[in-house]
């Protein structure tokens, strides 16, 4: 009898990279549905464009780098990068914007560092930052949630397509009615004009916690995050760290001066904070790897998000916060080695 020879363990592996990445995508489905409900189909179109560009860029890079194409193209990691970047884009942004961003992310931030598993920076965030700095106008033209726009001016699916591919809002769209600052952006500009939080919150943009529409998207993101925790795709340290970092900073300054600092609830439920906590900071390759290290890494991200939002030049600091902590990850790992069984407590 001819027997196969292989080293132990002999049981089938329990997991795969593709399975992990697909779980992340499934977890985003409820939140994407909520997003479409409030802001229209723009985000789905952005996701499709981003995915197409991402897979094309990945394919070209794998061929250029002489790497096996099939296992890497089918591992869904490029798709996850594309989808997360699409989430960060204004829904009506022109098609070439997300294209440039995702190509930069895949080519520069991922493959030129060595490909899957070797990237120092979070590729989606690197792509987003390049776009934000290079195309500030396009990256800050957001639209209002559907419930704030009266029925005549609602953006249809076809009009959305035209906006994205046609180089701007088409004829017949009331641009003033449709576009709007994000709640965070509005908060910033109004605070600079010395309005108080109470006054600012009177604006229709704001719901109970965060921005209208954004709160519900946040809820579904949390649901998705809990699903990922349950399936052990992510572990509790990163979401807990981000919320603790952001929440404690916000709480501290809100307690000191509620007039000019938004509540912790607002900060936690607005912008990309929840997306960051469960989907972005959890990118395993660019984060710290030890359990304690992840807590510190995520806490640092939370703190930096607050600092950049409050005193920096950008309305949302998630991308920069993540990139800064990416740089600190190796150092954090070095100092947070767990105590091995049988070794003395230091």
């Amino acid at each position: 009898m001819k027997f196969t020879l292989a080293p132990a363990p002999h049981l089938k592996p329990l997991n795969s990279v593709g399975a992990v990445m697909r779980q992340v995508l499934y977890a985003l489905v409820p939140a994407t549905a909520a997003y479409v409900w409030y802001f229209g189909w723009g985000i789905v179109i952005q996701m499709l464009i981003a995915t197409a560009f991402a897979l094309a860029a990945e394919f070209i890079m794998l061929v250029l780098r002489d790497r096996p194409v099939r296992p890497f193209i089918t591992d869904f990691s490029a798709v996850v990068t594309a989808v997360l970047l699409a989430w960060a884009m204004p829904p009506t942004a022109p098609w070439w914007l997300v294209g440039i961003g995702v190509v930069f992310a895949i080519v520069f931030a991922k493959h030129l560092y060595g490909g899957l598993g070797y990237n120092l920076f979070n590729p989606a965030m690197a792509g987003y930052v390049v776009l934000l700095i290079s195309f500030p106008k396009e990256m800050t033209t957001w639209i209002a949630p559907g419930m704030l726009v009266d029925d005549d001016n609602q953006l249809t699916f076809f009009q959305t397509l035209q906006t994205i591919f046609g180089g701007g809002f088409p004829q017949g769209v009331n641009v003033d009615a449709v576009t709007s600052a994000t709640p965070l952006d509005y908060l910033r500009t109004q605070l600079t004009a010395n309005r108080t939080i109470l006054e600012i919150r009177q604006n229709g943009l704001f719901g109970d916690f965060g921005g209208k529409g954004w709160e519900w998207i946040g809820n579904f993101l949390v649901l998705g995050g809990i699903w990922l925790l349950y399936r052990r795709v992510i572990r509790w340290q990163v979401p807990a760290g981000v919320f603790l970092g952001l929440g404690s900073m916000a709480f501290l300054f809100y307690a000191l001066d509620p007039g000019s600092h938004a509540s912790p609830g607002f900060h936690l439920f607005s912008g990309a904070a929840i997306l960051c906590a469960f989907f972005i900071a959890t990118d395993p390759v660019s984060a710290a790897t030890t359990p304690k290290g992840r807590l510190i890494y995520a806490f640092g991200i939370g703190v930096l998000i607050y600092i950049i939002r409050t005193w920096g030049s950008y309305p949302d600091g998630v991308a920069f916060a993540v990139l800064l902590m990416n740089m600190a990850a190796p150092l954090i790992d070095h100092y947070t080695k767990p105590r091995t069984y049988g070794h003395a407590k230091p």
């Binding site: 009898m1 027997f3 196969t4 020879l5 292989a6 080293p7 132990a8 363990p9 002999h10 049981l11 089938k12 592996p13 329990l14 997991n15 795969s16 990279v17 399975a19 992990v20 096996p68 296992p71 890497f72 591992d75 490909g115 899957l116 598993g117 070797y118 052990r232 572990r235 395993p284 390759v285 984060a287 790897t289 030890t290 359990p291 992840r294 790992d333 080695k337 767990p338 105590r339 091995t340 069984y341 049988g342 070794h343």
Partner: protein
């Protein structure tokens, strides 16, 4: 402080990580312990234990009886071997043995005569009154080694000379690896032997507390042991049910769960007051002391989708694997890999002609559906799942990183040698990297370097010694030459040979006087 309590209210603690695995034990636990027939040829390797191979006592042509010692321990850390059945020693030669390397080793081959005659048993009937040293020597003479798979000479772990007092004896009946059920069946059918063995061990260890640990997925074994304990009515013994998590039965993990203490990385369980033996070892000790039977057989689980009628068999040591598989109905069409041991820590063998040895707890004939296929691993995505499941709280992803970079010094910094090679990290890795293999490689590379360094040290010492010797010889030559020169000059300047002789005699006489 306990983390939780077992069903009996015993304090239990947690160990870090671990995996809940489907146990696949039901396929082999039916049918009780079947007794395998004695095969035509028994192959007894001289090395089936940790330590030096045994030294053969027999020669080709000798007639042996069952239980007769055919090889003696070569040193303290070694074990004896006994003929598993009666017959004639037909050869002492290299045969294929079960080992990951697939190499052959020296074996005593016995052609059985079918009569299965035994030597007169040599029990130790009044062991309760015998000194512990006598019990220990009896166990040693019976060739008993750890039957949980490690095969460490048992008498050494019953030796208390010069050691700190032992607070408790733990009998390991956890059997946490999937597929294996030999200890389960032993506990179900022969619980009294285990209990008796525990009592003998307690006597040898001069200890008054024994915990028999068993995973909670073995209800019948648990019931059998409870009945045996009730009958023995010995308050020193207690049964503890532990959670069924792999690798609960790892010695270090079990000690942590039962005592809350960690075995120091550079020490032994003795250092935390504990001695741990497998339940089958305890039963073997009972047989040796009470029945006077040395170790000549063991229970082997023959299982896997590649076996037609999986079950547990009592096999004579030296029985070829193929004979046991045939006894269990033969191979099925799907048998693709033959493993000695369990699916997590066992190793694949290329031929079924290899014999059952003392460490053979399981023969697993796996099908392609059961075993992992050959695959190309992806790069490490640093997800950290490996660290989450590691029972030793290591960072496998970092160890992997440094092993790939061949930076073995750094792997030592990250405690590579604390890896127990349980395989949990391998199973959970999404990139399907064969982590355990990398760590085994790193360990052997480091050992190889240490052997090289030791050799180089010896070579350097010898070189330095030789240099010193050459210098000394040169100096002595110089000395001699100088003296001769002086003598010659003295003669030249007027002295005669007679004067020289007189002077030499003077010197000799003075020396003699000094001595006295």
């Amino acid at each position: 402080m306990a983390d939780m309590r077992s069903r009996d209210g015993v304090e239990l603690h947690h160990f870090h990580g671990g995996l809940e695995l489907p146990d696949h034990k039901a396929m082999s636990t039916g049918g009780g312990i079947r007794i395998a027939p004695v095969p035509r040829e028994l192959i007894v390797p001289l090395s089936q234990h940790i330590g030096e191979p045994a030294t053969a006592l027999v020669e080709i042509g000798d007639l042996v009886k069952r239980g007769q010692m055919i090889a003696e321990p070569a040193s303290a850390v070694s074990a004896s071997l006994h003929a598993p059945s009666s017959g004639r020693v037909s050869a002492i030669e290299d045969r294929l043995v079960p080992h990951p390397s697939g190499l052959s080793a020296r074996c005593i081959v016995i052609e059985t005569d079918g009569r299965d005659e035994a030597v007169v048993p040599q029990p130790l009937p009044d062991w309760q009154d015998a000194p512990p040293a006598m019990v220990r020597d009896h166990v040693r003479a019976a060739g008993i080694v750890g039957l949980g798979g490690a095969a460490f000479p048992t008498w050494i772990k019953l030796d208390i000379e010069g050691r700190p007092p032992i607070e408790r004896l733990i009998l390991n009946g956890a059997e946490c690896e999937p597929y294996i059920s030999c200890d389960d069946l032993l506990m179900q059918d022969r619980a009294m032997e285990i209990v008796s063995g525990a009592q003998i061990m307690l006597h040898a260890l001069h200890t008054a507390h024994c915990q028999i640990a068993i995973e909670d997925n073995k209800p019948r074994a648990e019931a059998a042991l409870r009945a045996a304990l009730a009958e023995a009515n010995d308050e020193r013994l207690e049964l503890v049910c532990v959670p069924s998590v792999y690798p609960e039965g790892g010695e270090k993990q079990l000690i942590q769960v039962l005592t809350g203490r960690e075995v120091p990385h550079d020490g032994l369980p003795l250092d935390v007051g504990v001695v741990c033996h497998n339940v089958a070892t305890a039963a073997a000790v009972h047989r040796a002391i009470v029945r006077g039977e040395p170790l000549v057989s063991r229970i082997v689980t023959v299982t896997g989708a590649g076996v037609s009628a999986p079950g547990n068999v009592e096999a004579r040591l030296g029985t070829p694997f193929e004979a046991l598989i045939a006894f269990c109905g033969g191979y099925t069409e799907t048998a693709s890999r033959l493993i000695m041991g369990g699916p997590m820590m066992g190793f694949a063998v290329k031929s079924d002609a290899v014999p059952v040895i003392k460490a053979t707890n399981c023969i697993l004939a796996g099908s392609d559906a059961e075993v992992a296929p050959a695959r190309e691993p992806m790069p490490c995505i640093r997800c950290g799942e490996c660290a989450e499941v590691c029972p030793a709280s290591l960072l496998p992803q970092t160890l992997y990183w440094f092993t790939r970079a061949r930076d073995f010094e750094r792997t030592r910094d990250y405690d590579l040698f604390d890896c127990i090679e349980c395989g949990c990290c391998d199973l959970v890795c999404p990139s399907q990297i064969p982590l355990a293999s990398h760590f085994r490689f790193a360990k052997t590379e480091i050992w190889g370097k240490e052997i090289e360094r030791a050799k180089a040290d010896i070579a350097r010492q010898r070189h330095e010694f030789r240099q010193a010797r050459l210098e000394r010889e040169a100096r002595e030559q110089e000395e001699k030459r100088r003296k001769k020169q002086e003598a010659l000059e003295r003669m030249k300047s007027g002295g005669t040979q007679k004067d020289e002789i007189k002077a030499a005699l003077e010197r000799a006489r003075r020396k003699k006087e000094e001595k006295e």
